[in-house]
């Protein structure tokens, strides 16, 4: 749900302009953090960004609805905060160029998705002290998805209120969106569990250190 991109012209400038400014500022700061990264790391970021875009096209059937994955948690864990924010910005920019999300709200969309993504690795490391990689990755995905989804709800809620929508209508929107948010968190966390379970067996060096070997969780 957090990657249901906000189009141009529906949000007030007081929301999207500061969002764009803040996103650009964070982008510059993230560049300073990853300045020493190798060109191969940049290529890896590109590959994971492409993976995010590609999985967004995968439809997970949910009865009459379809859920589109984002893999925000796993990408956040694998790349770390600064690189994840860059990847999220690039993903949103590519999507905006094909009309999926607005060009003026690229920054806001990147902030919504990026806020969750940057938390993924710290949460993974924290959980990794106690749990194995799959559970830690799953927990990181829960936090990433929960934060992004909550921010999305806040942004859309603010947008609706600024348009003089009644409290009842905003409440109705929240009532519909909240269950979808929860379902999204559950789906992403189970998928993240699978991603980490496989990587922990085959290429544990790709996962940040701190998580116990996968065998301990069986």
């Amino acid at each position: 749900m957090s990657h249901l991109h906000i189009p141009d012209g529906v949000l007030p400038i007081l929301l999207w302009a500061p969002g764009l400014g803040l996103a650009l500022l964070l982008l510059v700061l993230s560049t300073l953090v990853v300045r020493g990264a190798s060109r191969q790391q940049v290529a890896y970021q590109g590959a994971l960004g492409a993976l995010m875009l590609a999985v967004m096209a995968v439809e997970v059937p949910l009865g009459p609805l379809e859920y589109h994955l984002s893999l925000l948690g796993p990408v956040g864990v694998l790349l770390g905060p600064a690189a994840t924010f860059q990847v999220v910005f690039v993903v949103n920019a590519v999507l905006a160029l094909v009309g999926h999300g607005g060009l003026t709200v690229v920054g806001l969309n990147a902030l919504v998705l990026g806020a969750g993504g940057v938390l993924a690795r710290p949460v993974y490391r924290l959980l990794g002290r106690r749990f194995g990689a799959p559970v830690s990755m799953s927990g990181a995905a829960v936090v990433a998805q929960a934060v992004s989804g909550a921010l999305w709800l806040v942004v859309v809620g603010l947008g609706l209120r600024s348009g003089a929508a009644g409290a009842a209508r905003v409440g109705l929107f929240a009532g519909v969106a909240f269950p979808m948010w929860i379902i999204g968190i559950l789906i992403e966390s189970v998928v993240a569990f699978g991603v980490a379970r496989f990587l922990a067996r085959v290429r544990p060096d790709l996962l940040p250190g701190g998580a116990r070997p996968v065998e301990e969780e069986r």
Partner: protein
Amino acid sequence: MINTLAQIDYVASSGTTPWHRASALTKLLFASGLVLLAVFAPSLRLLGGLYAVVWALVLTARLPWRLTLAASGYPLAFTLLFLLARWDGTAGTPLRLLLRPLTASLAAVWLVGTTPYPDLFAPLSRVLPRSVGDGLFLTYRALFELMGRISGLWRALRLRGGASGTARRRLTLAGEGFATIVLYGFDRSQRVYDIMLLRGHSGRICGCHHYAEWSRADLLVAAAGLVVTAGAVFLWKLP
């Protein structure tokens, strides 16, 4: 979404209209102007005029209409949410809410449908931090390859029983499948890096200046820009 992107990519590279021949920078500036006008224009007549202009741009660029409808119609679902919430019984408010995102998304579709991605990303990569600019190229280059792999993976999962059982089992297996793509992405990044070195990578992807090579076709974009500017000046204060 990816199919739409692939088709737009093909049309952008194979099109022969004057819009396709115009430089990326001119089109980028024009499309940005259209998007900003669509977002800020207070007049319904101006918004209607802008919507007509972007349709004229798309049709004269000979972009397939089905593809255009699919790509430009995406904001509709999200806009409907705002439309319902802000319903005030007048026709003006919903029309404004609809025309703004539709005009902006059509302008974006026209831009990407007439501009090959290296030319489109080149000016953007000049203003973005280097790693982000390079990320744009590398992400786009990897996208279609990874999408093909995910499509094959999804088929293999279904054929081998990965689509049966409980939701938890299906999603965990899907996650393991995506992890194979992560591994492939990692190996691919090493290959890409080697190729970049072999080709004499200078520290920035695409140092080309095609995006700012002017031609006669740019006069057409400039003329369209003048028409839109004049229209905006005349219609700005009208209801």
